[in-house]
Symmetry: C2
Subunit: 341 residues, 2 copies
C-alpha cells in the first residue's frame, strides 16, 4: 500500500480520495486556503460538506498550513485543484517532488500560451522542471457519485506508459475502473472542449422552455441531438489539429464526458439560461459564484482559432457558441453548415 | 414541385409528410390496414391522432383500399411502415415503381438473412427487382417534433449519390436539414444498433431508482455515460465489420440518434424497467402493445455474432445486453472488460 497526498479538498479532489482509501492507501487530503470551511467541517464531523458524504477514516485532512508535513515522504502526489489554482498548486508541490515520482491530477484541459493550445499535464511537467510525467484523469465522473462509490469509469492519460500502468494499478477498485492511454492530447482536449459543446447542447431545453414548452418526450430533442452529433464531429477535428488521436473522442473522454456533462452541472445550467434568452451577463449573474469553465475554454479557443489551418471554418458550431456566449449574439444555430464530411 | 406518395400513416411516416408539404409538394399519405383509425380521424378533423397535430391541407389521406389510385403517377414513393411491415409494403409498391424512380424509406435497420446481416434498403431493392436505389432516412428524429416543425437534422443514405442529391433537394426545408451519405451500411447499422445500446444506457436510471435514489445530478450518471461511451466504441466495431465507415458512428446517425433515443421513447422505458429489476417478461407486460425494436435487434445480433471475426469477444456490452434482455440474466455491467483499445 502507498501513501498518497492530494492537494485540493474541493469536490473532485476529495471524491478521488475515496477509492484510494478503499484500495487501502493512506491518503492525506490537503485543503488550500479556499478550503478552510471544508477542512473545519471534515475535522468536526468527518462529513465533506459539499459532497454530503462521510469520508473514510483512512483519509486524513490537512490544512494548507500543514502542507510541509503532509507532502513529506509520500509515494504519490495528486493535484485536486481547479485549473485556476494549478500554477499555485504546482509551485507548492514542486519542492517535494522527486525525479520520476508519480504525480496525478484531476485538473484537466487546455490553456493558450503564445497563441497555441497546450495541455495542462505538460504545463505541470514544465512547472516541475520536467522531472516527472504527470498523469491526468479524464472521462465521465460526477464527484458526488464517485464519493458515494457509484460505478465510475475513467481514463488516465499521460506521456509515459509505465507511469500510467503503475498509477492505474494503485487507483482501481471494484467500482472505480481506470483505463489508460498515452493520448494525453486527445483526452485533455476533450476535457476542455466538452464544456464548450455541452453549453450548446443545453441551449435546446432553454429554447423549448422559452417557447412555452414543458419537458417531455416531444421537446427540442432533435435539435439537442443534432448539436451533440456536430459537437462530436468538431471535437474530432480539433483533436486531430492538436496532434491527438481523433478516435479518443469516440470513447470515455469524448462522448462519455460530453454525455455526463449534459446531465446537470454548471455548464448545462448556464446553457439553459442562455437558451431561455437571458443573455450572457444576466446568466452569469444568475449563477453568482460558479466557475464557468465553458466561458473560459471558449475564450481560450477564440484566441487560438486563427491558428487553425482553415481558421476554424470547419467548426461552425464552436464559432456560433463563441458569438453567443462571449458576444451576446442571439442563438441561431447554423444547422445548414453542419454535417459536412 | 413533385407528387409524393408515402405508404404508412403512423407517426414517422406522417411526420415526414409535413416538411414535404411545406416544401410545396403534393403529398399523398396512404394508410395501411393498421391505420384505419388514424385515417378516420384525419378525414374527420385533419388532426393526426397519434401526433396530436393538424396536418397541412397539401397532404391528402388515402386508405389502403385506394392504394392503386394513390400510387399512380407519382414522382417519389416513400415507405413509412415499420420494419415488420416492410416486405408487405415493398410488394404493394412494386407494381408502381418504374426503373430509376426515387424510393425513400423511413424504415431502417438490419435483418439477418442466412446468418449474415443485411441493411433494409438492400432488402427493398431486391423486392423491387434492383431497378431502383432506395434512400433511407437516418439520424435523430422524434416524429412528434418534426410534425411540429421543430429543427431536425437527418442523414439520407443510399447506394447512389445522384438519387440522394435529387431526393434531398426535394426534402429540405428551413427546419428539416437533410445531409446525404453513400455509407448506407454505416447509417443502417447505427439505426439498428442504437436501439440495443440505448437499452443499456437506460438501465442506469432504473438501477438508481431500485436502490431508492431519486432523479438528480447525483445519480448513476457516471455509469450511464460509461455505457454510452462503450456503446459508441462497439458500434464502430460492428459497422467496420459490416463494411461500413466507422466514422459514421461519430455523426448524426450514430451518436446523434443514440442520444435522442435516450430521451424517452419505448427503448428507454423498457431499459428503465429492466434496471428496476422487473425482468424481461414483466417489463414486456408493462409495455403491452409496444413494439420493442431493442429486443428484435438483440435477437438479430445474437444470431449473427458467431460470424464475427472474434465471435463478438470485442463487444462485451452487447453480449451482456443480450444475456440480460433475452435470457433474463441480472444486470452486472462488465466495466472491467470495457474500453480496451
Amino acid at each position: 500500500m502507498a501513501t498518497i497526498a492530494v492537494l485540493g479538498a474541493g469536490m473532485m479532489g476529495s471524491a478521488l480520495c475515496v477509492p484510494l482509501a478503499d484500495r487501502g492507501h493512506d491518503v492525506r487530503l490537503i485543503g488550500t486556503h479556499l478550503d478552510d470551511a471544508i477542512l473545519r467541517a471534515l475535522r468536526a464531523s468527518g462529513v465533506h460538506p459539499k459532497l454530503g458524504v462521510e469520508l473514510p477514516p483512512r483519509i486524513t485532512p490537512f490544512d494548507h498550513r500543514e502542507i510541509d508535513q503532509a507532502l513529506r515522504d509520500v509515494d504519490v502526489i495528486g493535484l485536486g485543484v481547479s485549473s485556476a489554482g494549478l500554477t499555485w498548486a504546482t509551485a507548492q508541490i514542486a519542492p517535494y517532488v522527486s525525479p520520476g515520482q508519480p504525480v496525478m491530477m484531476i485538473t484537466k484541459g487546455l490553456v493558450a500560451q503564445g497563441g497555441r493550445l497546450r495541455i495542462l499535464p505538460d504545463v505541470v511537467a514544465d512547472g516541475l522542471r520536467g522531472q516527472v510525467f504527470p498523469a491526468a484523469v479524464g472521462g465521465p465522473c460526477i464527484a458526488g457519485e464517485l464519493a458515494r462509490r457509484a460505478e465510475t469509469c475513467v481514463l488516465l492519460c499521460g506521456r509515459n506508459a509505465d507511469t500510467l500502468d503503475h498509477l492505474s494499478a494503485l487507483m482501481r477498485t471494484e467500482y472505480y475502473h481506470v483505463s489508460t492511454t498515452i493520448d494525453a492530447v486527445g483526452v485533455e482536449a476533450c476535457a476542455a472542449l466538452k464544456n464548450a459543446y455541452a453549453l450548446g447542447i443545453a441551449l435546446a431545453a432553454g429554447i423549448h422552455e422559452r417557447r412555452g414548452g414543458v419537458p417531455g418526450s416531444v421537446a427540442l430533442h432533435n435539435f439537442e441531438s443534432a448539436v451533440f452529433a456536430q459537437a462530436v464531429m468538431e471535437m474530432r477535428r480539433v483533436v486531430d489539429w492538436l496532434g491527438g488521436d481523433p478516435d479518443t473522442v469516440g470513447g470515455l473522454a469524448g462522448v462519455g464526458d460530453l454525455d455526463v456533462t449534459c446531465n446537470g452541472g454548471r455548464t448545462g445550467r448556464f446553457g439553459h439560461l442562455i437558451g431561455l434568452g437571458l443573455g450572457t451577463r444576466r446568466a452569469i449573474e444568475e449563477m453568482a459564484g460558479a466557475t464557468l469553465e465553458c466561458l473560459e475554454i471558449l475564450q481560450v479557443l477564440r484566441s487560438t482559432l486563427p491558428g487553425m489551418p482553415d481558421h476554424g471554418a470547419s467548426l461552425p458550431l464552436l464559432r456560433h457558441l463563441i458569438e453567443v456566449a462571449l458576444d451576446g449574439v442571439p442563438v441561431a444555430m447554423p444547422f445548414d453548415r453542419f454535417f459536412a464530411r
